[in-house]
């Protein structure tokens, strides 16, 4: 109880409580994440169960009873009669899963390599950081597409749809590790010259133990900020790839896939099929980004 009270009064929570933007963003992100996680419970229909679909429901307008069946859908239906609201919930699931996992993958890879580069120095550092520099000269989306293409080429045809999500995660993760590595390397260079690290070396701790126990915790706060902003970027990257048709397969559509599907109907008047997934993506990415912005300010002692 007392700990809870201390936490509630800490500078960090205080700055959160006094930032309306942060509170609203977190609330929206929480609602969206919960809705996505519990999509099977929240969604009124299961849009990927062919047995529940009725083609007659196709192209229902939002909030209007369908002309043939009389069913009403909040956000309308697409060409195959799938409820747009339900597809968005399921799509967000894929988007968020890909986003979180890709960022986690990038974080683990980038932080380890950055830590090693900064601490060990010499040729190891040169090798790691030059690879990072070279990768930075390509747009991340291009790197992701390249990796996606290669991976697709080497996976057997019958497994492509199952593997697509994982390939997507690896592609986005690999295109995103560089900034983690650069930031962690920089912070490690600062920390490793501090006397407590010298002291740890002197008492004979192994380099691995020094890196994990002494340096890593001290370089984590910028990582947290980058991870949050990367999450928004990863969700957008996933949507972009899916929009281009190289991401999530139509059997497991993400928000990007939904936008791609909806795009085809925009000019024939069925605006809701693209509009609602697009708004969801916008709100999700914006909230995560604003949360990241707040986190950056809150963890930066100079801006307090």
């Amino acid at each position: 109880m007392e700990r809870l009270h201390t936490a509630w009064n800490s500078d960090f929570i205080w700055s959160f409580r006094h930032s309306p933007v942060a509170v609203v963003s977190l609330a929206i992100v929480m609602i969206l994440v919960l809705a996505a996680v519990f999509a099977p419970l929240v969604a009124p229909y299961n849009p990927f169960d062919p047995a529940t679909l009725n083609l007659m429901n196709g192209f229902s307008k939002p909030m209007e009873p369908n002309a043939f069946t009389g069913d009403t859908f909040w956000l309308g239906t697409d060409d195959q009669g799938r409820d747009v609201f339900s597809t968005i919930l399921y799509g967000m699931r894929v988007s968020l899963f890909v986003g979180f996992t890709a960022v986690l993958f990038a974080l683990i890879l980038g932080v380890s390599l950055g830590l090693i580069a900064g601490y060990v120095g010499g040729w190891t550092e040169t090798a790691i950081m030059r690879v990072a520099d070279v990768q930075l000269t390509f747009p991340a989306i291009l790197v992701a597409m390249l990796i996606f293409g290669i991976a697709k080429g080497i996976t057997p045809v019958h497994m492509r749809d199952e593997m697509a999500i994982w390939v997507l995660i690896i592609a986005i993760g690999l295109s995103d590790w560089v900034q983690f590595a650069r930031v962690v390397r920089g912070a490690t260079l600062v920390e490793k010259n501090k006397e407590y690290v010298q002291a740890a070396k002197l008492i004979g701790r192994r380099p691995g133990a020094i890196m994990l126990k002494h340096i890593l915790p001290n370089v984590l706060s910028p990582v947290l900020v980058i991870a949050t902003i990367s999450l928004a970027l990863a969700i957008i990257a996933e949507a972009t790839l899916s929009f281009l048709g190289v991401g999530a397969p139509p059997t497991q559509p993400s928000l990007g896939t939904l936008i791609r599907i909806g795009q085809g109907y925009l000019f024939s008047g069925e605006w809701w099929i693209i509009l609602f997934p697009a708004i969801t993506l916008l709100v999700l990415a914006l909230s995560v980004n604003l949360l990241g912005d707040w986190l950056r300010d809150a963890l930066n002692p100079k801006l307090r």
């Binding site: 120095g121 501090k194 407590y196 002291a199 002197l202 004979g204 126990k213």
Partner: protein, 323 residues
């Protein structure tokens, strides 16, 4: 004299640069007896800290030991590498750093840092390590040590933190402590306490101390012997009493003359003209000769003989001659 804890023989540290090889430490020789406190003084850049870092084996690249020997309990440690060195030096050498702000990990409680060090070097259980850590904190005068074990470094004041650092340096029962300007970052009022504490604890345990400082007052209070460094060379070495009251090297004389004394009047302090030469532009002959008031022709031609471990006092052609 008993077998020395630390012997440094003709130590030479080099930093290769594009234009020349710099020698921030050049032919430093001294012994440190068990329980003895050796003060190392000199201006910034004289090679005090470099000598200390060479002894603990933490020279930053590209600096390297280029010559000489460092013996810890009679065993050479300057050529050991990796595992053996880590074990040996961690077990026998403790370090007190200059800035207590950065010498403790801000994200670990002081209890964790103490027990980590104890467990690394002493064969004791977790509970015993904790008990020893509490004892250590008590000894350095941290009140309510048991509760303070779970406090983080930022919850201590500078002086208290330096006490923790001393406890940390002593907790693995080393035979040698290297204190690199342990009081420079502290308030004057706290400096005396910390120095007294360090001195008392090391006396009680018979731990030798290599005290690196540029504060003559600290040396006078603490050290048994004094080594004066100038431009990487040993200028003078002798018992604290001799060096402080009857300095023989003109540099030491200058240093003593420029230390303010409460008893002295309000005359201007003596000032050594000029500043220490850059390492890549050392004068020929004695490195001090351009600034020396007693320099003769000989001083600008030939460097004075270096100091052997015990014999001579000052590395000066005219040492001992009274002005």
């Amino acid at each position: 004299m008993a077998d020395p804890v630390l012997s440094v023989r003709d130590l030479m540290v080099e930093i290769p640069t594009r234009h020349a090889v710099l020698r921030p430490v050049n032919g430093v020789t001294f012994d440190l007896a068990p329980g003895e406190i050796l003060g190392m003084v000199g201006e910034s850049g004289a090679g005090k800290s470099m000598t200390g870092n060479a002894v603990i084996g933490l020279l930053d690249r590209p600096a390297r030991i280029a010559g000489g020997e460092i013996l810890l309990h009679g065993k050479r440690i300057d050529q050991l590498s990796g595992e053996a060195l880590r074990k040996l030096r961690g077990k026998h050498i403790g370090m007190v750093f200059q800035d207590p702000l950065t010498s403790l990990n801000p994200l670990l409680t002081i209890g964790e840092q103490l027990t980590e060090t104890i467990l690394e070097h002493l064969d004791v259980s977790q509970t015993e390590a904790r008990q020893r850590a509490v004892d250590g904190l008590n000894e350095v005068g941290i009140p309510a040590a048991e509760q303070r074990m779970d406090a983080y470094p930022h919850q201590f004041s500078g002086g208290m933190r330096q006490r923790v650092v001393i406890a940390l340096a002593l907790c693995a029962e080393p035979s040698l402590i290297i204190a690199d300007e342990p009081t420079t970052a502290l308030d004057v009022s706290v400096q005396a306490q910390i120095i007294a504490l360090l001195k008392r604890l090391c006396r009680e345990r018979g731990t030798s101390v290599m005290l690196i400082t540029h504060d003559m007052g600290v040396i006078a209070e603490t050290a048994d012997r004094v080594a004066v460094l100038y431009a990487g060379r040993m200028a003078e070495l002798g018992s604290a009493r001799d060096v402080l009251t009857h300095p023989q090297h003109p540099y030491t004389i200058g240093l003593m003359g420029s230390t303010p004394l409460a008893s002295a009047g309000r005359e201007r302090l003596y000032q050594i003209n000029g500043s220490m030469p850059r390492l890549d532009a050392l004068p020929i002959g004695c490195a001090f000769n351009p600034r020396c008031s007693r320099a003769q022709a000989q001083c600008g031609q030939e460097p004075p003989p270096t100091l052997a471990a015990h014999n001579d006092r000052a590395a000066c052609w005219f040492a001992g001659e009274q002005t």
